[in-house]
């Protein structure tokens, strides 16, 4: 009571005109954010919410959707095709170190100015600009049973393998082709990262008697850690969201379910089975899984940076 009588007259007198009128820039700030916010809500949040809503329905895409609760999710848990796709996804994720270390190694070689470094820098990046359909078509010809690759192997007395038609090699083959088509981007990012590794550190290590392997292991890689982690996050997301074209063109998911990955499965459920609700349920699971992976990786990165 006492406080009120003390402060009320003071604040009334001093804050006129009201704060909003005196500091319009505070509100102007919201105005600047508005377009970006509107786009995110319109293009990301709303479709996501719509997807979540559809995933709770049984829908043929034409008639009114019928609400069925979590039935789609329950059905997915018992769907052997979904199970196979999940296993393939984990196999794919287990290859992450290759996806990251391969371009890192090549970038280090280029950075250390191996002969022809300028040429390799361009050559490695070249596949990145090709569309996955074109890459798939090229490798179909190259890898087919009576194709060039098997012909080349026969020179060394190695028997022909049906790389894409054999369940035991198909997924690995598609992964190798995807690595080939995308590692150039990693090389580019690592090269720009390597440019920031202080030269005097490398020189000091050399003076101290370190050989090339030691310089790379004890100086270059620790200095590059944040970049390596960044590439790991981006690559993981890329693995789960950008292999559809290649699978569609190269294997059609086969043989059996050998090369089914989440995107391809969602497309089959939506496009061939005409079950938007079921496809949406799969999408929501994939979304949560990718979100969780990205969250863990980003947390890991920020923890390192804080150190």
């Amino acid at each position: 009571m006492r406080a009120a009588t003390q402060y009320a007259p003071v604040s009334r007198g001093w804050h006129w005109p009201r704060p909003g009128f005196r500091e319009p820039e505070r509100y102007l700030g919201y105005l600047f954010v508005l377009p970006a916010l509107a786009l995110i809500i319109l293009m990301r949040i709303m479709p996501l919410a719509q997807g979540a809503r559809i995933s709770l329905t049984n829908w043929d895409g034409i008639d009114e959707p019928i609400y069925i609760g979590l039935q789609n999710y329950q059905n997915l848990m018992h769907d052997p095709v979904f199970r196979d796709t999940a296993i393939n996804t984990f196999v794919l994720l287990a290859t992450l170190p290759i996806w990251v270390l391969f371009p890192l190694l090549l970038a280090i070689f280029i950075h250390l100015k191996v002969p022809g470094a300028g040429f390799f820098r361009v050559a490695y990046f070249f596949p990145v600009v090709l569309s996955s359909v074109i890459i798939g078509a090229i490798f179909n010809i190259f890898l087919r049973y009576d194709g060039n690759f098997n012909e080349m192997l026969s020179v060394f007395g190695i028997e022909a393998v049906d790389w894409l038609g054999d369940g035991s090699t198909a997924l690995a083959t598609v992964i190798v082709v995807q690595i080939w088509s995308s590692f150039g981007m990693g090389v580019l990012i690592f090269l720009s990262g390597l440019a920031t590794v202080p030269q005097d550190l490398i020189d000091a290590a050399k003076v101290a008697g370190a050989n090339l392997a030691q310089v790379v292991w004890y100086v270059v890689i620790p200095a590059m850690m944040p970049i390596i982690e960044f590439v790991a996050v981006v690559t993981t997301l890329g693995m789960l969201t950008s292999m559809f074209g290649l699978i569609y063109v190269m294997t059609g998911g086969g043989p059996g379910t050998a090369t089914y990955l989440p995107e391809f499965l969602i497309w089959l459920q939506q496009g061939e089975l005409n079950k938007p609700g079921y496809a949406a349920a799969t999408s929501m699971i994939v979304f949560c899984f990718v979100g969780l992976l990205a969250y863990i990786q980003v947390r890991f990165m920020t923890r390192k940076v804080d150190l």
Partner: protein, 237 residues
């Protein structure tokens, strides 16, 4: 392409009763009408009837690749993008282009019964939700009129189902013969067209697994049957 293969069996060997039971979903994959073709498919694969490597891609892409490379002129149910009578006649002369009835075993060459069925063509449909259904139907009636089919027949070389087209105008012995045979060897609608999407997908997957020796016919039949049962259960929910 296993579904086309099974469809061939369905057309050739099933009774009318089999067809009806299949269409309403009462035929199980374990029954010989469906299991037998898959068993044979496995036997073909084990005895190397299939060209190695043909399983690596979607069947259609496979076939097209074979055609482009000139290593095959036909695959299961797909004939290479072969020229039609009109294109052949253009460069060979009408008198050098022959036509034949579908394959038959032990049947008189001119006999039109007892032959393998042949089919094909363009299908039209009007969507249920179309606001102008009458207009669409009217358009289709217009489209298949003899005078319009005549153009399609003469310029594109299509064999049209409207028998009122004027064959004399083309001066093609081959085309007139085929038009005269239009009633021969007709097939019923492929029963496989009534297969639901889930079973069809599983059939394809199992077909490819059998070729790559990752599944036996027995396992394939069991897997498709299980998909069928699950789909039927879910449809009831």
């Amino acid at each position: 392409m296993i579904e086309t293969y099974v469809a061939g069996f369905a057309v050739g060997f099933w009774t009318e009763q089999d067809r009806e039971r299949f269409i309403v979903g009462e035929m199980d994959w374990t029954e010989p009408q469906l299991a037998k073709p898959i068993e044979l498919w496995e036997r073909f694969a084990r005895e190397d009837w299939f060209k190695k490597g043909a399983n690596s891609l979607e069947t259609y892409t496979d076939a097209v690749n074979e055609f482009m490379r000139g290593t095959a002129a036909h695959n299961f149910a797909l004939i290479s993008d072969a020229a039609n009578w009109r294109q052949f006649e253009d460069f060979m002369g009408p008198e050098n282009v022959g036509v034949m009835l579908p394959v038959a075993v032990g049947v008189d060459p001119d006999e039109q019964t007892g032959r393998l069925p042949a089919g094909g063509g363009i299908g039209y449909a009007v969507t249920r939700w179309s606001p102008y259904q009458d207009l669409a139907v009217e358009y289709l009636h217009e489209l298949v009129k003899a005078e319009h089919m005549q153009v399609f027949f003469e310029t594109a070389g299509a064999i049209v189902s409207n028998k009122n087209v004027d064959v004399a105008a083309t001066n093609s012995p081959g085309a007139s013969k085929i038009l005269g045979w239009l009633d021969c060897c007709l097939e019923e609608h492929h029963p496989i067209a009534f297969l639901n999407a889930e079973e069809q997908q599983e059939l394809r997957r199992q077909g490819s697994l059998i070729i790559s020796d990752d599944a036996t016919a027995e396992e394939a039949v069991a897997a498709i049957q299980s998909v069928k049962e699950t789909a039927q259960e879910q449809a009831k929910q």
